[in-house]
């Protein structure tokens, strides 16, 4: 426990009382008093205009940071094909490595994946560590995390980045615990200061709040990064890099939770986490068969089909399409919401899209508050008209 109110500085102004997300601060006399439910979140420290509240971080473990150097990007591949998020990691990682005057390495784990190393070098990597074995054919948590942790402990990178994908969000939390360092999930911003401290910015509370997170006393600094936020570099085939083949240990291959099958779900429309354009339908569609309208528009735009929770719960469309708090968070270039009123649980899943179009007959629907363009009207008229005009163009 180490939160302190400095009596000589506190004026009893109550700014901290308002700032505390947990209602744990009261003012007694002219002094802030912190209650037992304090989680040391620090909201009051940033709110105080008088520097009267301090959280003491005791240094428990000093690490010799000079041993750690280089930026790593954990490549994600499926059936040998490098996923686009990897090139975004290389773009972000290149910038960080250049600022630090260090090298950028890609870690490529899979089966028969060595051919992809060239692509990673063209994408910005100085080194590619290739880990190739049949045990890595499908993503499996245990062997992937074991080999990655072993490499981190051995080579001591300063920063490790991975995609905030299903694989990244399952694998990287394991690795961070195995190597005993901090991890920041789902970053939308990364920068670095002169001391090599990584400033990791991420949304929290469903995107209502942004937080900048540091890993001051541990290395490596690990982060997963949201897809489509960072910029990939143009591929440059003339770039030179080194390919290192990593020897496996027998213990790397040990698997208790074994993948026995992969079932691909056939979808007319691409997966929403990857899509640049998403057309989503909600309760305003009135009946399951009307989802075909949304599908047609998505098809005309080359986009994916999303849905509100109401439409999924009604059984009109599978859960994998759900956008929002209990579904997926998406960040499209163009998001079209059709017949979706815009409950906050939906908004937090899509409000960081670049351009939002809302089509709704209720002019007071909350979706219009986040919409770049809104059409107040009957979607049964509007959508077919859009499809027709897009087809003609």
């Amino acid at each position: 426990m180490s939160i302190l109110v400095l009596e000589e500085k506190c004026t009893g102004c109550r700014l901290c009382v308002k700032a505390c997300p947990f209602g744990e601060i009261s003012v007694e006399g002219k002094l802030a008093v912190i209650g037992d439910g304090c989680t040391l979140c620090g909201a009051c420290v940033s709110a105080c205009e008088f520097g009267a509240i301090e959280i003491e971080v005791e240094r428990t473990r000093e690490i010799d940071f000079s041993q750690y150097s280089g930026v790593w990007a954990v490549a994600e591949q499926k059936k040998g094909k490098v996923q686009s998020v990897t090139f975004e990691l290389l773009g972000a990682g290149r910038e960080l490595a250049d600022r630090r005057g260090s090298e950028l390495s890609a870690i490529l784990i899979g089966r028969r994946v060595a051919d992809a190393a060239g692509e990673l070098i063209a994408g910005g990597a100085d080194n590619v560590y290739v880990v190739d074995s049949p045990v890595f054919e499908q993503f499996q948590d245990e062997p992937y995390s074991r080999v990655l942790s072993r490499l981190i402990v051995k080579w001591k990178p300063e920063i490790v980045l991975a995609g905030a994908t299903a694989i990244g969000r399952s694998l990287i939390p394991r690795v961070a615990v195995m190597v005993g360092t901090g991890l920041t999930a789902d970053c939308t911003g990364l920068s670095i200061d002169d001391d090599g401290q990584l400033l990791q910015t991420r949304p929290a509370f469903g995107g209502n709040i942004m937080a900048t997170i540091l890993t001051p006393r541990h290395r490596p600094q690990m982060a997963t990064v949201r897809h489509k936020v960072m910029r990939a570099l143009p591929s440059d085939a003339s770039r030179q890099g080194k390919v290192v083949h990593v020897e496996l240990k027998e213990s790397d291959k040990f698997v208790r939770a074994k993948v026995v099958d992969f079932v691909e779900e056939e979808e007319k429309t691409a997966n929403i986490a990857e899509a640049d354009v998403i057309v989503s339908g909600g309760r305003g569609l009135q009946a399951p068969e009307n989802f075909s309208l949304v599908e047609e528009l998505a098809l005309a735009l080359g986009g994916a089909v999303g849905a509100s929770r109401a439409a999924v719960d009604a059984g009109w469309i599978p859960y994998s399409h759900q956008v929002g708090q209990t579904g997926k968070t998406v960040q499209a270039k163009l998001y079209i919401a059709c017949g979706i009123s815009g409950a906050i649980q939906h908004l937090v899943g899509m409000q960081s899209s670049d351009v939002i179009v809302a089509i709704n007959k209720d002019p007071y629907a909350p979706i219009f508050q986040v919409a770049t363009y809104g059409i107040v009207g009957d979607l049964f008229e509007i959508i077919p008209m859009m499809v027709k005009k897009l087809g003609r163009a």
Binding site: P21, V57, R169, L183, I209, A257, E274, Y319
Partner: protein
């Protein structure tokens, strides 16, 4: 069979906003709820108990008021509940939290399955489940949307479907195992009146660092490698253009804008 569910009490994030002028959280009227994903975890644990016979224990770490989240779990049919609560745990990040939860699970005793929600809706990290699995040295299956088969101990195995971006993996594991579950897995039940009565009277154990026998360097702020240095409001969206009137006209106006922005 013994199933342990890890739950978290979270503010109902729908109401949390930041005051852009003062950069502070505005929390008027924010209620606390059981993290929605954890409700699916509780439900799945209860279904497993009904299928295989056994016991369900819920555990949470949080301030004293997190007890009400445990009472809610008890009202649904959970048999026992443990609250990990002490000032010393304050400021825990996902590493310190997973360490503490793992120690509590070990203290609870023999278990076969640990179930967590996919992620909590306040932090959205999805890191504590896998962290607990590593700390317990047991296998994990994340993002489970269906349990296909369970064989209780001594044979002890499970087959589950794990959601990925373009489909799902079928994963087989021995027990004990840790699962994180997504919404698709079930439809949570409502508490019965009898359940509510029972929950009100139930005795909830409260454990601190002494009961868990944990080193103070590994818990709370001291045991947390990450540190929140700043919170701020996301950039606000500019208010948009609204088109209203004849369908053909409004569609033309919209497509004109989208073409200007090279979006179509």
């Amino acid at each position: 069979m013994h199933i342990i569910v890890c739950i978290k009490q979270v503010p109902d994030t729908t109401n949390i906003k930041i005051n852009p002028e003062t950069n502070t959280l505005m929390r008027e009227g924010v209620e606390c709820i059981v993290n929605p994903f954890d409700m699916y975890a509780i439900e799945e644990a209860l279904r497993l108990k009904e299928r295989c016979e056994g016991k369900v224990t819920a555990v949470t770490m949080g301030p004293p008021q997190a007890e009400s989240a445990l009472r809610e779990a008890l009202s649904l049919g959970v048999d026992e509940a443990v609250l990990i609560s002490n000032r010393a745990f304050a400021g825990s990040d996902t590493l310190a939290t997973s360490f503490t939860l793992a120690r509590a699970i070990q203290k609870i005793g023999e278990y076969d399955i640990v179930i967590c929600g996919k992620q909590a809706i306040d932090g959205d990290t999805a890191q504590v489940g896998p962290g607990v699995a590593v700390q317990l040295n047991i296998p994990q299956i994340t993002f489970v949307k269906k349990i296909e088969e369970v064989t209780p101990p001594p044979a002890g195995s499970i087959r589950a479907e794990r959601m990925m971006e373009e489909g799902f993996q079928v994963v087989e594991s021995r027990l004990p195992v840790l699962l994180t579950v997504v919404k698709e897995i079930n439809e949570p039940r409502l508490p019965s009146l009898r359940g509510k009565m029972k929950a009100r009277k139930a005795n909830i154990q409260v454990w601190g660092p002494e009961e868990l026998g944990v080193d103070s360097d590994r818990i709370g702020l001291k045991g947390s490698p990450t540190y929140v240095s700043r919170i701020f409001a996301p950039p606000q969206r500019k208010s948009g253009k609204i088109f209203q009137g004849d369908a053909e006209e409004v569609v033309d106006q919209l497509l004109h804008e989208l073409r200007d922005g090279k979006l179509v």
